[in-house]
């Protein structure tokens, strides 16, 4: 990663040069989102390699959640390019279509279906035909049951599988939501603050979980918890006022004068 430490990589324009790489899974260039004159994203450029684990940090209002909204089709950018898997233009698709392309999202506030049991939440997320008739006639087969069982094992909720997910603790809901992404078998996972509200022990376990997943998938994690970001040991992108301020290893960005200024509010 030594080349990432070079100063020119701190500017958005320099990153756009990676466009040519055949391994690019997600490509954002010059993305701007304006809400009533306020630029939530301002010419944001970001490139994710296939199989990469990336963390995105930045002060409140830096545009982290808006960036996820743009990638998942919740918000349409006013300008800019958003490409998935080389050529799919995400700005033309809606949330369902993007989810079916293989992009999954965990929300900042854990959102599970509280009136359904833990296992039923996973059942709904299970990779399968999403049409109404298929859903009406769906019966779990042995392989799907095994997938639910193994996912429950991975997220440590086997014991609570029949309980309503509304009764889970905050941390367990976060895990269930990560489990829903897993069983959906998505290529790109967007995790918005996956350890918010977790105890230190839970945070460490989550870091382990994410690292184990990162071997098979591309993951983008937005997080505030610097200890957690350090645990992940991945490339860090710092957002500020809707564009990339710095990019590199955690030590590199923490040593960056402008990052320090932004975080200390100078």
């Amino acid at each position: 990663m030594s080349d990432l430490l070079a100063p020119e990589h701190d500017t958005p324009n320099a990153q756009a040069a990676t466009r040519a790489s055949p391994d690019t899974l997600l490509y954002l260039d010059g993305v701007t989102v304006e809400f009533d004159g306020f630029k939530a994203l301002n010419g944001l450029s970001l490139v994710l390699e296939d199989g990469e684990l990336r963390t995105v940090i930045g002060p409140n209002g830096a545009g982290k959640t808006t960036m996820m909204d743009v990638i998942t089709g919740k918000t349409r950018p006013d300008s800019g390019t958003v490409l998935f898997d080389g050529s799919v233009d995400l700005t033309r698709l809606d949330e369902e279509e993007i989810a079916n392309l293989g992009i999954g999202r965990k929300f900042q506030k854990p959102t599970v279906f509280e009136n359904l049991s833990v296992a039923e939440n996973l059942e709904l997320a299970l990779k399968d035909d999403r049409s109404i008739t298929r859903t009406l006639l769906a019966r779990l087969n042995g392989e799907q049951r095994d997938r639910i069982a193994s996912t429950l094992e991975t997220i440590g909720l086997t014991e609570r599988r029949t309980e309503q997910s509304g009764s889970l603790s905050h941390g367990q809901k976060q895990w269930l939501e990560i489990g829903m992404l897993l069983i959906q078998d998505q290529r790109l996972l967007l995790l918005d603050e996956p350890v918010a509200g977790m105890t230190d022990a839970e945070t460490a376990e989550t870091a382990e979980l994410i690292l184990s997943l990162a071997t098979k998938r591309t993951i983008l994690v937005v997080e505030h918890d610097m200890e957690f970001v350090r645990d992940l040991g991945a490339k860090v992108t710092v957002l500020h006022e809707g564009s990339v301020l710095a990019e590199g290893s955690i030590d590199h960005v923490q040593g960056n004068q402008r990052v320090v200024e932004v975080y200390l509010g100078r």
């Binding site: 949330e95 959102t111 009136n115 059942e123 709904l124 997320a125 109404i132 769906a138 603790s169």
Partner: protein, 374 residues
Amino acid sequence: MDAPLLLDRRGWLAFLVILAAAIVLIPLLVLLPPAGSAFRVPDYLVPLLGKYACYAILALGLDLVWGYAGILSLGHGAFFALGGYCMGMYLMRQIGTRGVYGNPNLPDFMVFLNWQELPWTWWGFSSFPFAVVMALAVPGLLALVFGWFAFRSRVTGVYLSIITQAMTYALLLAFFRNEMGFGGNNGLTDFKDVLGFEIRAPSTRIGLYILTVACLAAAFLLCRWITRSKLGRLLLAVRDAEGRVRFLGYSVTRAKLFVFTLSAVLAGLAGALYVPQVGIINPSEFSPANSIEIAIWVAVGGRGTLVGAILGALVINLAKTWLTGAAPELWLFVLGALFILVTLAMPDGILGLARRWRLPRRAPVAVVEEAPHV
């Protein structure tokens, strides 16, 4: 993997047994005991009970969209009335030359308006199968088109409720107009027979009653099958966190359209069964207050339970029949008070109350299991 339904297997089987008993017993008690016997059910009760069963089908449909998918439609009375009008048109065509004017081609009200020929909207309605298909298809199609615009634009919550009210109100005004060709203010009435059976004959009434209760049982089984399927769990997910469902890759619009349309078809069926039993259909069935009343039945019985919707429709309409006889001026106050009471004191309706009484005997197990994790 059971959704949190209120009734276990025994409960809903018992419910079906009650329906089956209602099909067999009531007609027997009308026909067999000698006049004057304490067991004899009076004739006039048969169409009344049949009417309640129609309301129960209607409530079942509303529970499917409101209780499960979270779509509070306050326009279901319109789908009911449209189904009713389709059946009413068939019944009007059956009158033939027995009308006051004796015109073989035109219903009385058209002769009265000096119309020369049957409007195209009435074509085909002398056929019973056609009328039945239309009674289901017209409400279904309206729901499909209306729902497509509403759900695609992501109109939800109270805004959706308001536009459904507007829809039924618009239809109310339209059907009041004589030019529409549906009998205007007076609607359709003076029916003579249905499928060749005299409509007022006790045997016809018993037949209609049995058919209605059988339809209610079938509608219940259909709704139960849907709500217990994976689609049923998807509907609950849509109700609780619509936005999240989209990110799982499901089309919320299509899920809502499916359930809304099916629900309108059930309402149309209820309306079609209702008209031959009460003998009239007029524009007042479109009145917004009617649609609100359906929501009250479901709320009182217990949303998202199916059985609760049926129970609510029966209980409220029994109370209405009794009270509008005993103290007519009180009914609307009682209905309003009931709604406030249910909203404040028993949000899960009668079934929720029943469950609260039943739970203490079963609860300790769950509490002990949960305690270490809390």
